[in-house]
């Protein structure tokens, strides 16, 4: 199957800064892509470009549509959860379900009602009477009932407690995701999504600094725990990062032979958050 998203030379300039700097990437169907970056790195701008919410220069093809010209058609195939608080506060549960059911050709009302039945939401409840967690449950119920090919999540669990966060990703994996769907998610809570991601993209200052699937990440980046006497040797091999734990040093290497590292100490796969910190450490300096 051809790519869901193809971006070529994508740039976006705001008044004072370059939010996207000549970015190119491809996203294949059936993937769950984590778009991770520090604040202001251009994540949201990238997602807005994909959704046709902002203008940009360069080429962008999303499911065969140009988001600038065919936004309304594109949104028939794409779902989008911006963050927790974007459902209109005045609307009632039954109103929003009625509305989406009647304007969205791919909406399955029964499915949505089944999801809602698992929550404490009542049909006459207004969004303004709900907690953040309940709003996300409602939004997720709407989105999961839409048979879309691309789902975009921009900080979908910001400010939720851990029960709602866990449930959110669990529902998404169990009841929604399949090989015909693609999910792009941005979040700062990297630990919570790393086990569900198939692909990882790091973005920094408007540039993609890492774009790989998780298997490749595991092969390329290796962490090794080295005792103090071997640390200078390890340091000489130019690690990405070094930190101390219980008198030992942990080094993070990019593209060094596994066998070579195994000779120095215990090796393991780095967590995405350690990798992120190592890659981005000079961002705010």
């Amino acid at each position: 199957m051809s790519a869901v998203i193809t971006a070529n030379g994508l740039s976006k300039r705001y008044k004072s800064s370059l939010a996207l700097d000549n970015v190119s990437f491809q996203i294949a169907p059936g993937r769950i892509v984590g778009l991770i970056g520090p604040n202001g790195a251009g994540k949201t701008t990238a997602l807005k470009s994909i959704l046709g919410l902002t203008d940009f220069t360069g080429e962008l093809n999303v499911l065969g549509f140009d988001p600038r010209k065919q936004r309304d058609k594109l949104m028939g195939e794409v779902c989008f959860i911006a963050d927790v608080a974007v459902l209109p506060r005045w609307i009632r549960v039954h109103e929003v379900v009625d509305f989406v059911a009647n304007v969205h050709p791919r909406f399955d009302r029964k499915k949505c009602e089944a999801f809602l039945a698992r929550t404490k939401l009542t049909p006459n409840q207004r969004v303004r009477q709900m907690s953040k967690g309940m709003i996300v449950q409602l939004h997720l119920a709407l989105v999961m009932a839409i048979d879309a090919r691309l789902l975009i999540l921009d900080e979908p669990t910001l400010g939720l407690d851990i029960l709602y966060r866990k449930q959110f990703y669990q529902n998404l994996l169990e009841d929604y995701f399949d090989e015909n769907k693609t999910i792009i998610v941005t979040t700062h809570q990297v630990e919570e999504v790393e086990h569900i991601l198939t692909d990882l993209m790091f973005i920094r200052d408007g540039k993609i600094v890492l774009d790989a699937d998780m298997d490749a990440v595991g092969e390329r980046f290796i962490e090794v725990m080295v005792s103090a006497d071997k640390a200078p040797a390890a340091r000489a091999m130019k690690p990405l990062d070094e930190r101390q734990v219980f008198g030992k040093s942990i080094f993070l290497f990019d593209g060094v032979e596994r066998a070579q590292l195994e000779a120095m100490g215990e090796v393991r796969r780095p967590s995405v958050s350690d990798l992120f910190v190592a890659t981005m450490k000079e961002t705010y300096a």
Binding site: R71, F80, A82
Partner: protein, 327 residues
């Protein structure tokens, strides 16, 4: 078409309070006041001979001459016009603030991100809002005011029949009340066209302003009006500031007042067949009613140019709705 229907329904859900309840409550208050007036006059009838909406119940008898009948008919006109005027003022406020918020409020609370996640074009969204401002809200208001007017007449007829006067028959035979109702209903198309420049201007501000659309919507036309007047005062150019205030400032801000075209029709430019209206109050009233639904006015420059400007501004609002990126 189905999407458009649901978009309009969505607007109605959100603004049920101002579209539906504001005119109904106003009408209800008018009815209550009429009832209270009648009861008061019944109580104090012997002493003071109070009037309710211009009808002195003491003078109502079963045998009235044509003069008296005419008087009562005119009084009924006033009785039915009162709720129409009041609800018209309410409608003006409702539509004015609805338009100002229509493309701004959801940007401010970021719910635009939810609306834009649905497969609906920005054109349809903006048009559904313009439809609500020019058709839905006025129709609800006019129907409510007509119903209120009818109820007031019925209350009066009941009160009159307590005095032995058969106003029921008068309601059907007198030309006034039903002519007013017919005029009100038939003036809706003119209202839609007449309101376009104001609706367009307010929605354009609502879609364009990054903050405080109310201030921008007022400052730009009024400021430019003052500017033009100042030039006039200085005698630099003869720009005709009266023309500017009447045709630019007023049309972009207060054209959503129902019947706003009537004064222009009656007194404007020495034109129109209503000039002989004269000074007699009832004649002016009758001419005003006729002017209110004079469809020939639709092709006058006031209507045509205004409508074209309004449509252009709505197109501008669609463009800003599509590309404004600040949520």
């Amino acid at each position: 078409m189905k999407t458009f229907y649901w978009l309009v329904k969505r607007e109605f859900w959100e603004h049920r309070g101002s579209f539906l309840w504001a005119p109904i409550i106003t009408g209800g208050v008018m009815l209550a006041l009429t009832l209270m007036g009648i009861i008061t006059s019944e109580v104090f009838r012997a002493r003071s001979g109070m009037q309710v909406n211009g009808i002195d119940f003491n003078t109502i008898t079963a045998h009235m001459g044509p003069d008296a009948l005419d008087m009562i008919g005119k009084a009924l006109d006033i009785a039915i016009m009162a709720p129409i005027v009041l609800i018209g003022i309410v409608l003006f406020l409702v539509v004015f603030f609805y338009c100002l918020g229509s493309l701004y409020d959801d940007r401010r609370d970021r719910s635009i991100l939810f609306w834009k996640s649905l497969p609906i074009s920005d054109r349809d969204t903006v048009l559904s809002k313009a439809f609500c401002a020019t058709v839905l809200a006025p129709v609800i208001a006019i129907v409510t005011s007509v119903v209120t007017g009818l109820l007031i007449m019925v209350i009066m007829a009941i009160a009159a029949s307590l005095h032995g006067a058969n106003l029921w028959q008068m309601l059907w035979t007198l030309p006034h009340p039903f002519r007013i109702i017919a005029s009100m209903l038939s003036c809706i198309p003119l209202y839609v066209v007449w309101a376009l420049p104001t609706v367009g201007w307010l929605m354009l501000c609502s879609a364009w302003a990054r903050n405080k659309p109310f201030l921008w919507a007022l400052i730009i036309p009024i400021g430019s009006g003052i500017f033009v007047s100042w030039f006039n005062l200085m005698g630099l150019f003869n720009l005709g500031d009266k023309w500017f205030w009447g045709n630019i400032v007023a049309r972009s801000l207060v054209s959503v007042i129902p019947g706003g075209w009537v004064p222009g029709q009656l007194y404007g430019n020495g034109r129109s067949q209503f000039d002989q209206a004269g000074t007699d109050g009832h004649q002016v009233f009758a001419s005003a009613l006729a002017a209110a639904h004079n469809y020939a006015a639709l092709v006058s420059p006031e209507f045509l140019v205004g409508a074209a400007a309004g449509i252009a501004m709505i197109i501008g609002a669609i463009w800003f709705r599509r590309w404004r990126d600040d949520s």
